[in-house]
């Protein structure tokens, strides 16, 4: 009984109009129309509490971290390390030693490729990825293969944009040293069953790296429950500023890895004969970090949890279902990515109208969508299309945004008659 009632109660409680008021940029007019922002999968907008946290930090607490005995340096260090603890709690990691601040998902994945895999892998070793990966989870592994002689294997997807599990299982073998998978596909919205894939990979002795960029804004991520060895994400897709993200890594793996970049902060002592490296997590954070970014990221996590990640996810999932049903009614629309389990992304083409033209026509009506290959060219090649238009939903989108999108697509059909 309670289980049946709960989702309805949650639906009634979520007030998207109130959430919108937290995001000043949503009051913008674009080309004479109130902005409809449907590009959160590329980069989400920032709410007042995040903007304020960054400004407060820069106004009252800024100095360099881990360096001074003076009051501001201590304030900055405590803000920065406090943010690390916030990230640990958000991901349910065991220790802050497992949280490395990076620029974003891309840097995190490159760190794993260069510091974990490069010293260990060689000819005969295999890396397994899926056909729905973002370029950031393809290219670092291709570079690694060139550097070490290991081989990249790609598990295929089906026409709905779902991973073909039988083929994944076949490609996974004792030569597989590392499996790198998206949690949620940025181009198709497909949610991968990460826990199950991790179990299969571990059974073959492979470590698993998860690209969580599209998952963290839409679901509660518990790295221990997932069993992932590494989990990477970016702040700017979850209402935090750009240029900050984090890599979670299991401590025993991180401890055994050499530093990635050299410089200040990642050392304990330096002489010209011998340098000793700092402890985790600072061993992987050479140079002055993005302190205000980390503060903003922590504030974004507070914000998202104040709304309730589950409530946000339920709201977005209702919008996705509504938009999917509405677009299916429009002649000439083809949805690209129709997986049974999807999150927040609606990719589509309109017959006779190239995605790039669609983007311009929607923009002229104040509607922001992403058009192009979404940094997933192999996905476009698989579906035999050069590009799609992609609407993606965040905590601030509404039914009205969906209605404006539908009307905008109607206008595109008129223009191209």
């Amino acid at each position: 009984m309670a289980a049946n009632v709960a989702p309805i109660a949650a639906a009634a409680a979520y007030d998207a109009a109130r959430v919108r008021r937290d995001f000043p940029i949503l009051a913008t007019h674009v080309n004479g129309h109130p902005l409809v922002y449907l590009d959160s999968a590329a980069s989400s907008q920032l709410p007042q509490p995040v903007l304020r946290a960054v400004e407060d930090y820069e106004t009252h607490s800024h100095a360099n971290v881990h360096r001074g005995v003076h009051a501001l340096s201590q304030a900055a260090t405590s803000a920065f390390e406090g943010a690390r603890e916030r990230v640990r709690r958000f991901l349910n990691a065991r220790s802050t030693r497992e949280i490395i601040f990076v620029r974003g998902t891309t840097e995190a994945l490159n760190l794993v490729a260069q510091s974990y895999a490069r010293p260990r892998f060689g000819a005969g070793d295999e890396i397994l990825i899926t056909a729905l990966e973002h370029h950031a989870n393809i290219v670092p592994w291709q570079m690694l293969c060139e550097q070490t002689g290991c081989t990249l294997r790609v598990a295929p997807i089906n026409r709905r944009g779902e991973l073909v599990h039988e083929e994944f299982a076949q490609l996974l073998n004792s030569r597989t040293r590392l499996v790198a998978i998206a949690h949620v596909s940025n181009a198709l919205g497909t949610v991968l069953p990460v826990k199950r894939l991790v179990e299969a990979a571990h059974a073959q002795g492979a470590v698993v790296v998860v690209d969580g960029a599209q998952a963290v804004p839409h679901s509660r991520v518990d790295v221990r429950a997932l069993g992932a060895d590494f989990y990477a994400f970016s702040g700017h897709k979850m209402y935090a500023p750009t240029g900050i993200g984090a890599l979670y890594g299991r401590e025993e793996l991180l401890a055994a890895m050499p530093p990635w970049q050299g410089g200040g902060d990642m050392i304990l002592t330096v002489s010209f004969e011998k340098t000793t490296y700092n402890d985790l997590p600072w061993k992987f954070e050479a140079g002055t970090p993005n302190i205000s970014g980390a503060v903003g990221l922590a504030a974004a996590m507070d914000y998202l949890e104040s709304l309730g990640i589950e409530a946000v996810a339920a709201h977005e999932s209702r919008l996705l279902a509504l938009a999917t049903a509405e677009l299916a009614q429009i002649p000439g629309i083809e949805l690209i990515g129709t997986a049974a389990h999807k999150a927040s992304v609606l990719s589509f083409t309109l017959a006779g109208v190239h995605a790039h033209d669609l983007g311009t026509i929607l923009d002229s009506q104040g509607i922001a969508v992403r058009t192009g290959h979404h940094c997933a060219m192999p996905v476009m090649t698989f579906f035999g299309i050069p590009a799609t238009a992609r609407a993606s939903f965040g905590c601030y989108n509404t039914e009205d945004d969906v209605a404006r999108l539908v009307a905008g697509l109607g206008r595109a059909r008129e223009v191209f008659g």
């Binding site: 080309n31 006779g352 109208v353 190239h354 995605a355 790039h356 033209d357 311009t360 026509i361 002229s364 058009t371 192009g372 290959h373 060219m377 476009m380 050069p386 590009a387 223009v415 191209f416 008659g417």
Partner: protein, 152 residues
């Protein structure tokens, strides 16, 4: 900005029914089909331009590929405009098109003919590359730079 300025009837017509579309096989008077590929990585537009010269004159030209309405129509209009022209005249025309696409104060040159329909593109800076892709690719073909031209 007005969509009708960008998507004029001429543009929509050339997008729907591109002229001189397809691969150019066989040999011209000089015995060679010049060819180059163009790519706009931002939006995935790809096109190939094939040219046959007779001395300095563009005897025949065709293009193929897939792209947005602006890049397809621009390529189609270009093939019509340059066919029969000397290389020097083609270079001059490209200059005039470039000015048309990027300079807000430029009045369309009478010499542009139907190409003047592209003037609306300058109000949409993100789309200028779509309109110039075919011209850059034609240049590469004329210089017989077989490498792929990129707008990025």
């Amino acid at each position: 900005m007005d969509l009708k300025d960008l998507y004029r009837d001429v543009i929509l017509d050339h997008n729907r029914h591109p002229r001189n579309f397809g691969r150019l096989e066989g040999a011209g008077a000089d015995g060679e089909v010049l060819h180059a590929d163009g790519h706009n990585p931002l939006c995935g537009d790809r096109l190939s331009v094939y040219v046959v010269l007779n001395g300095e004159r563009v005897e025949d030209i065709r293009f193929e590929g897939s792209g947005c309405a602006i890049s397809t129509a621009s390529a189609s209009l270009m093939t019509e405009a340059v066919k029969g022209k000397e290389r020097a005249a083609v270079a001059k025309l490209f200059d005039q098109v470039h000015t048309l696409l990027t300079r807000h104060d430029a009045a369309p040159d009478a010499a542009l003919g139907k190409l003047a329909a592209l003037s609306g593109v300058r109000e949409f800076p993100a789309r200028v590359k779509c309109a110039t892709l075919s011209w850059h690719t034609l240049n590469a073909a004329l210089e017989q730079g077989a490498a792929t031209v990129s707008t990025e």
